[in-house]
């Protein structure tokens, strides 16, 4: 349950990045930078979803955590330079979420 709630900031990030890219008047409508931020937010969401649902372990887990972390950090930086304050804050939350998730032991499926 905790893992699924960890997806909420990333979901919000995707929503805000999509809004910035699509909606007129954001200052970055239709730009490559906003599209990049959307892709980054989606990557962070997918990474967290993988951690929450697929429960990777070992090296695979470390790789997913690292990739998700990088995607979230870069998206937060991109959002800063896109002057999308809400997205910057949300992606910073996503970064924190990844750190928390990474610090917790991976869930293991109970043996039959």
């Amino acid at each position: 349950m905790l893992q699924f709630s960890a997806l909420l900031p990333a979901l919000a990030g995707v929503g805000l990045a999509g809004y910035a890219w699509i909606t007129e008047g954001t200052g970055v409508t239709g730009t490559a930078g906003a599209l990049l931020a959307l892709i980054g937010a989606l990557a962070a969401l997918l990474g967290l979803a993988a951690l929450a649902m697929a429960h990777p372990t070992g090296g695979r887990r470390r790789l997913v955590v690292f990739a998700t972390f990088v995607a979230a950090v870069l998206t937060a930086v991109a959002a800063w330079f896109l002057m999308q304050d809400a997205l910057t804050i949300v992606m910073a939350l996503v970064v924190l979420t990844i750190l928390v998730v990474a610090a917790r032991p991976p869930l293991r499926t109970a043996a039959p």
Binding site: G27, A32, G33, A34
Partner: protein, 635 residues
Amino acid sequence: MTRHLALLSTSLLCPLPAQAEQTRWDTFNGTLSASKFADVASFTPETVPRLERAWEVRTGDVADGSGELPETVWSATPIYANGTLYLGTPFYRIIALDPATGEEKWRYDSQSTLEALTQPALKNRGVAYWESGATGPCEKRVYLGTMDATLHAVDADTGKPCADFGVNGVLNVNQWNETNAVFPFSLLQPPTIVGDRILIGWSGMDWEYTVEPPGNLMAVDARTGELLWDTGFIPAELIPRTGTANIWSSMSADPELGLVYVPVSSPSPNYWGGNRLEGIPLATSTTAVDIETGAVAWSFQHIRHDIWDYDTPSAPTLVDIRRGDEVIPALVQTTKQGFIFVLDRRTGEPLFPIEDRPVPPSDAEGEGTAATQPFVTVPPPTVPVEDLPGVWGLSDALSLGECSKDRETYRYEGLFTPPSVEGTFLWPGTAGANNWGGAAVDPRSGILYVNSSRVVQVLRLIPREDYESEVHNATDGNIEGGNEAGFHAQEGSPYGIELYEWTNSLGLPCWEPPFGTFSAYDLASGERLYEVPFGLTQRWGFYGMRAWGSPTLGGPVVTAGGVVFIGASMDDRVRALDAATGEELWSDIVAAPSVAIPAVFTHEGVDYVVFTAGGNSILKPQVADQVVAYRLGSP
């Protein structure tokens, strides 16, 4: 300290009128003085954070160049007159709007051809307004010029053509294009109207040919379109060999002195002058012309033998300057090269010393540069022209020293370094430190406000025998680009040219920021009161740092309440600044860079500021067709 005293004196000596209002904003620069001062008191540093959108309109007249139509470039100042807001569009239509609601009153379509005949884009800078003082149809008129050289007159109340003007409301201005007519007289800038006279300049392609139409100023009757006089700016004996020195920008006028002040551009071709070594005294000048007769009253040349395309770019700003007990009728001319010329507008005499300094000679075939050029040190230039901006460390590092290498490769020996085959740094760039937006001045204090760009370009002469092959082999896609970038033939001269911004291979500027500033000057002392970075650069959506500023196109308006309104920056924002400090007080995002001058006026007791957001590819490839009006919301 002096700065604070000057600003303090503004507030002490010039108390705000309690019921100030701006009842008209009926020229490209707001008024004939081109002061861009709006006598509205409600917009103050304390109130403008409450600005809110009153309405927004999309004209529909926009193209990004991806379809059949050329790209649009829109720099129209909305005209407020006759209780109506009038706009010209880059599809050469006039739209009349209700200033309170934005509701369309009428629309007139000139049916002009939508072809980029003389420019790389469909361009428009708005309309002109005239009224006779009588009542009845066509006693109030709106005039619209087109790229194919026609001037349309329509009734300001109905939008119906005024049949007594030209032929059924359309004047063929190209009928007077009789010499070296390699392109039509494109009417992109609305004409200036003084009394019952319409004063007409035109645009062309001075980067393309050596022999072109000679620049002139024409006066026609506002009612009939009859040609009253025609004043040329190129000596008759040189006309077979050269051309332009035209007026593509706006003009200002002093009806009491009976003079119109015209910013005359450079001769053709832009970057080689071996065909005109005798000199053209009226080219690249501010010239005062008698409104009644067309006689040249005086002329002040800003550059001798201009081979940098440093056209005089804007209407000079008229202001009375107090020196001791004397009040001097002055004009202030901002320029592409960054100098601010302050002249007595009765005589053209400079009000601050101007130094003649030696400048580097040319090694181009047939060229002969002037030995000296005028340098203005007071007021200080709007950009630091004493030396090329330094190499930007960030850009240099990211490109592994590309910028430093360029700095050693291209020629630069100070301002007015001539174009060369090896490549010359053009600083300021051809779009200018200052361009068509010009400056604003508060006539009560004599403080001048101006936005400036810091862009470095590289200009390369290409020998004629190599030009075609170089253009053919070019792979960077900048074969076309108007006069601000790309390859240009300069047909009839020994050289074509290539012009481009000095960037590294990542597209980052090689020169150090800031890239744009906003400044204030005390015109009595010539002192600069402040200079701050202005606007934000933007690429792929990402914004630059605030300290970097942004190149700008378009101009400011200063209000009686001590606020400056300005768009102009790359970042699609319109802003209100504190006139005392340049600090940003308010901003809003619009659909594209607002490369125009805003309109500030009082309609039915309410103060409005209206911006057009049209964009310009010189700043970035983004266009729009948006008009946005703001007024104060509730406290």
